[in-house]
């Protein structure tokens, strides 16, 4: 196989499942093709931090044997990529951090167990910002993932490896995690679909915790239907995660397959605060074009207000870092991970953590510890939690007026590698449209809207009330059909082609 041109067309997850079921392709063929693509393009994109070639092929052969023997499990032999902060038994789980460089998971995350039981094959570990703290995958200790649409630009983050791999054909589908936009923003930057389920919909057991009240695992896929397929395996109550909800899981695949051709009877809200200044004109234009198409399909489009949107980034970065400072206390060089030995235990902790964690993780631990420390708790952490209540109420009011909200995913398309990394606050402010859904615990999806004038993907975000993933996926599927189909990404730098900076 030549590595000189863009990737060959790889099937969607839906197509892969069908082809396997009809014996048109074997799992071994599917996985081999995937591994060849990874071999070609991973050196450029750095999407995978670990590829499980031998074991994946062995699992694929075993899956083919199981299928021949009549195993009815629906996913037998389907390759899935996993973000490197979700445990898969026997595989590395570095979280993009030096402190977990040599860690191997002794157990499966619940989502991994569910996929394994369904028959999925784990191909490799996908790059991420260190401990999922970042919006560009540049804080990974293993170097940044690169954007398949312009390799000089970021893939987004923190699930940048997952998004880049799916967009470049190096994964049929992947898992990511979303604490403040970490699935949706990289999906938007790379031109794929990213779903953040409602808080409590998917078990977090085996996801290395960043901010426990905000974290949620979800799919990154080529299509909305693929996201529905994956969610149907991931969703549901898990005794190992007491925050996973014991509520019925609707049939997401049926919701998509039985979607009407139009949007009659659907009320779509446009929150005016999400269309304020600061959005790139091309992003605003792409959203407007989608709105026009939705109206043409019969949707009732109304303007709504989420008045506390402006405060979401401040509240998020206090709450998330406070929770992170507590969660990351476990990395102390005692039970797992790096240890910088010392005779004195306190010095051992301090040296281990100073050496093991990268700058952004330390910055967030410092901020979070500060916000929780005596004398500042009320002023920062408690106040942020109260503002979280106001943001939650904004959504409750908005959803009394409409069924779903439509917004941009991020104010800009993918930015250049290095452009924002030395300016944390500017990086944080790019999360303005994604953090509110995490603070409110609602579900949200990013789908490709089209390309900007530089040829970079623009994302559309749809948000629905908590646990309304079926509604979200159904409408997202209808909207997806109206959007221009993206060409294949060039997997090259655009700078050499002379396009404007």
């Amino acid at each position: 196989m030549s590595c000189s041109g863009p990737v060959s067309e790889l099937p969607s997850l839906s197509a892969a499942l069908d082809a396997l079921r009809r014996n048109e392709v074997s799992s071994e063929e599917l996985v081999s093709e995937l591994l060849r693509t990874i071999e070609c393009w991973n050196p450029t994109l750095n999407a995978y931090v670990y590829v499980n070639s031998e074991e994946a092929l062995a699992c694929a052969r075993e899956a083919d044997a199981r299928r021949r023997a009549g195993d009815p499990a629906p996913w037998v032999g389907v390759p899935i990529g996993i973000k490197d902060n979700i445990c898969v038994r026997g595989q590395p789980c570095t979280c993009g951090s030096k402190i977990l460089k040599s860690y191997r998971s002794p157990y499966d995350a619940t989502v991994s167990r569910r996929l394994r039981e369904a028959g999925a094959v784990f191909v490799g570990r996908l790059n991420l910002d260190e401990f999922a703290m970042g919006s560009s995958t540049e804080t990974s200790a293993w170097g940044p993932a690169r954007n398949p649409w312009d390799v000089d630009r970021v893939a987004g983050g923190s699930s940048g490896g997952s998004a880049a791999a799916v967009a470049a054909g190096m994964a049929v589908a992947a898992l990511g995690s979303d604490t403040g936009g970490s699935i949706r923003q990289p999906a938007a930057f790379c031109g794929c679909v990213g779903l953040k389920p409602s808080y409590g919909r998917v078990s977090r057991y085996g996801l290395v915790a960043y901010a426990s009240s905000l974290d949620q695992i979800g799919p990154l896929t080529r299509t909305v239907r693929d996201a529905a397929l994956l969610l149907s395996v991931l969703a549901g109550r898990d005794p190992m995660d007491s925050t996973s909800l014991d509520v019925p899981v609707p049939d997401y695949i049926a919701a998509v397959d039985q979607a009407p051709d139009d949007l009659r009877g659907r009320c779509i809200g446009l929150p005016r605060e999400y269309f304020a200044e600061g959005i790139e004109p091309d992003v605003a234009q792409a959203v407007k074009a989608a709105v026009a198409d939705m109206a043409r399909l019969g949707a009732d489009v109304v303007e709504v207000s989420l008045p506390h949107t402006h405060y979401a980034v401040a509240a998020y970065y206090l709450i998330a870092t406070a929770e992170a400072s507590a969660n990351l206390a476990r990395f102390d060089g005692v039970r797992y991970g790096l240890r910088v030995p010392s005779e004195d235990v306190l010095e051992q902790y301090e040296r281990t953590r100073a050496e093991g964690f990268g700058q952004e993780v330390k910055r967030r631990i410092i901020l979070g510890t500060y916000a929780l420390s005596a004398g500042y708790y009320d002023a920062y952490y408690l106040r942020a939690q109260k503002v979280r209540t106001l943001i939650r109420r904004d959504f409750e009011r908005a959803f009394q007026q409409c069924d779903l909200l439509l917004t941009p995913v991020a104010p800009t398309t993918a930015f250049r590698i290095g452009e924002r990394i030395s300016d944390p606050l500017t990086m944080y402010l790019g999360d303005i449209f994604t953090v509110p859904a995490n603070l409110a615990g609602i579900c949200a999806i990013s789908i490709p809207a089209g390309l900007d004038s530089r040829g970079l993907p623009v994302g559309l975000q749809l948000m629905a009330p908590a646990l309304e993933e079926a509604r979200l996926l159904q409408v997202a599927h209808v909207v997806e059909q109206t959007r221009p189909r993206l060409p294949r990404p060039p997997l090259a730098s655009r700078a050499s082609g002379g396009s404007p900076a």
């Binding site: 002794p106 797992y336 410092i366």
Partner: protein, 102 residues
């Protein structure tokens, strides 16, 4: 919010204090860098003071579940050897750490 934190010298002392609490060794370069970063971020988050939140309940979790209990039944945990498999130092089924009490 607390007025004295706006002074960068005091904030540098706060960074040292907080780093100690967080068990992270900091060099003087780190202190300088994080004092700048923290100063800017705190300045930004102080906009939350514009809101009147006196009568607002805090949200710790977005979903209304509390005190979830499971049945008190024994179940197998991670086998001993696997629990120790990632330990930087282990012996006789135990984690080895520096002496803590003289």
């Amino acid at each position: 919010m607390n007025e004295h934190t706006t002074c960068s010298e005091d904030l540098a002392a706060e960074v040292r204090r907080v780093a100690k609490l967080a068990r992270i060794y900091v060099s003087e370069d780190d202190v300088a860098q994080w004092t700048r970063d923290l100063g800017r971020i705190l300045e930004y988050v102080r906009q939350l003071n514009e809101l009147d939140v006196d009568s607002v309940e805090p949200t710790a979790h977005a979903i209304p579940v509390a005190n979830v209990m499971r049945d008190d039944e024994p179940r197998p945990g991670l086998p001993h050897t696997e629990a120790l498999s990632n330990a930087p130092a282990a012996r006789d089924g135990l984690f080895i750490v520096p002496k803590i009490i003289e």
